[in-house]
């Protein structure tokens, strides 16, 4: 069971990112991650938990989002604020956003996965493949023939 985010008697969990930085996180926040939860159940509770797939800046972002997500429950203003921050990050630094999503996926944080995936889905909606590539800096790895074939097959969707 996830405890409430009241900090009065919360336990502190120590985590280490892939680049060696050590984070001290309240248990209630850390337990949002199913990965960390499983690791703690497997008895790493009193040690430093290593996170070999997450760098410090990204992990910092994850924690920020987790905290804000806990605060935003039943708070429309906060919800909006978090959403616009997410969208801002997606626009200004899509690379970091993709790393954030990967970290959230790796750490198995369902609430954040729902949020970040939904923001991205909303961002993608109605946009052309070309625009998506440009905005997210994705390389077009299709040959011109392959691309033409895909466009032809679903021409109705690309007008």
């Amino acid at each position: 069971m996830a405890s409430t985010s009241n900090s009065t008697s919360s336990k502190i969990i120590t985590l280490r990112s892939s680049d060696g930085e050590v984070f001290e996180v309240e248990e209630s926040v850390a337990l949002e991650s199913n990965l960390i939860r499983r690791m703690m159940e497997d008895d790493c509770a009193n040690n430093i938990i290593p996170l070999p797939n997450v760098t410090a800046p990204i992990f910092y972002l994850v924690i920020e989002h987790c905290k804000k997500h806990a605060e935003m429950k039943d708070n429309k203003e906060k919800k909006k604020e978090l959403r616009s921050q997410g969208e801002e990050l997606l626009k200004s630094d899509p690379h970091t956003y993709s790393n954030l999503m990967e970290a959230v996926n790796y750490l198995d944080i369902k609430s954040l996965m729902d949020l970040t995936a939904q923001w991205l889905a909303d961002f993608l909606k109605g946009k052309s493949p070309r625009l998506i590539r440009e905005l997210l800096k994705i390389k077009n790895d299709f040959t011109p023939e392959e691309e033409a074939e895909i466009l032809e097959r679903n021409r109705w969707a690309f007008d």
Partner: protein
């Protein structure tokens, strides 16, 4: 250095693990997934794999006819010559024009899942038509407008009006009933589709049955086809496709307080009759049929938590996820414009809102829709000499070319609910 940096950037979005891509793509509509499949190869592969169970977007699209007016054309004529059909996706509130060569000159008779049951009049298609009436041959086929896959069925000699399919044609036990309406007579043809390994399925005709009934609608439920016909006081019959037998189940028209339309829909394993009327600003009622007791009861509770899409040959009932519950949508059929009824929870008989197609979930932007007739006599189609039963009859399918060689169709089903795949 900066170049290296940028290659890493480029790789990132394409390298997301499949389960993560799935989390993203399952939140998109079908047209968006088509667009995303053209972004890069890893995205395309993720979108070409099977979608995860339970995430199919179930709100159907509405395929509508290309209405044509004037020039001596009969009322309700629609163009069928082109290879493009128009689809409205209510979730995006957006129109799509989908092209498929097989649409040319074809008429739609039914839909099941993302498949359409089409027919094409062979007359004048290859060689100039001869003096024959008998030799007139109609091609019958399933068409998936999204993948353009076509599954041919054996042709028929005369046009049919309505089709009903048990399941999608890619399933082993797909059965299709073709219904042809004559004067006080109905002929059915049953087609069984046989799946073959690595080959197109074949289909064979089994039984042909002729009986007296002017049919309005039919559905498949639990191994039987159910037909609603207005002759002989509005009968519901069951039709067993395996032996061609027909059983009278119940009469119910007298209880239906003069409806303007009567449709069947299968919902959660039950067969419901949905009726519409015009008195008091329009009403809609749902009845549940109990075949073992040969009885029916008004059952508005069947609508709760369900969204229903009503239309001859293409009805469906879905659990109301992503769609309003307790709501019935009607596609256009015969003299009826489409409409929508929304039922207040817990209120058995009142309609909270009833609107033509330019409101509600299925609002069609920019399309003028005439209001429901205030009374039957106000509608030009209604002839005082005709009784009400005739009025609600679904017109027969007719296909013809005008002097310039353009092809038109009248009758049959005009609004078709078809489910778009998610991926």
């Amino acid at each position: 250095m900066s170049e290296e940096d940028s290659t890493i950037r480029e790789a990132t979005w394409s390298d997301l693990p499949p389960e993560l891509l799935d989390q993203i793509f399952r939140r998109l509509t079908f047209p968006d997934t088509r667009r995303m499949s053209a972004v890069c190869k890893p995205w395309r592969s993720a979108l070409e794999s099977e979608p995860p169970a339970g995430v199919l977007s179930t709100v159907p699209w509405l395929m509508v006819g290309d209405e044509a007016e004037g020039g001596g054309l009969p009322k309700g004529a629609r163009r069928i010559g082109g290879s493009v059909r128009r689809f409205f996706n209510p979730v995006e509130r957006r129109w799509y024009e989908i092209e498929a060569a097989d649409f040319e000159r074809s008429v739609c008779h039914a839909a099941v899942g993302d498949w359409l049951l089409q027919s094409v009049c062979g007359e004048g298609k290859e060689e100039e038509e001869e003096e024959e009436e008998e030799g007139e041959k109609w091609e019958v086929f399933f068409l998936n407008p999204f993948t353009k896959v076509r599954i041919d069925l054996p042709g028929v000699h005369s046009p049919f009006d309505l089709g009903i399919c048990s399941v999608v044609p890619t399933c082993t036990d797909c059965m299709v009933v073709l219904i042809e309406k004559g004067v006080m007579e109905l002929r059915t043809t049953v087609l069984k589709v046989h799946q073959q390994k690595n080959q197109d399925p074949t289909a064979s005709y089994t039984h042909q049955t002729t009986f007296e009934l002017d049919i309005l609608d039919a559905v498949y439920c639990g191994g039987l086809f159910y037909l609603y016909g207005t002759s002989w006081m509005g009968r519901v019959l069951s039709f067993n496709p395996n032996n061609g037998s027909l059983h009278h189940l119940l009469n119910m028209f007298s209880a239906l307080s003069q409806p303007l339309s009567i449709n069947l829909v299968e919902s959660l394993g039950r067969v419901l009759v949905i009726t519409r009327g015009d008195s008091g600003g329009g009403w809609c009622r749902a009845y549940r049929l109990d075949f073992s007791a040969k009885s029916f009861t008004q059952a508005m509770e069947e609508l709760e938590g369900q969204t229903m899409f009503i239309g001859a040959g293409t009805p469906m009932s879905i659990s109301a996820i992503g769609a309003p519950g307790g709501t019935v949508y009607f596609s256009k059929c015969g003299t009826f414009e489409g409409g929508m009824c929304e039922f207040r929870r817990g209120n058995e008989s009142n309609i909270a809102a009833l609107s033509p197609l330019d409101h509600g979930l299925y609002g069609l932007p920019g399309k003028h829709v005439s209001r429901w007739p205030v009374s039957l006599a106000d509608d030009g189609m209604f002839d005082d000499n005709m009784d009400r039963l005739h009025y609600i009859r679904m017109p027969r399918v007719r296909v013809f070319a005008d002097s310039s060689g353009e092809w038109f169709a009248t009758g049959g089903i005009e609004g078709v609910w078809v489910q778009a795949p998610l991926y």
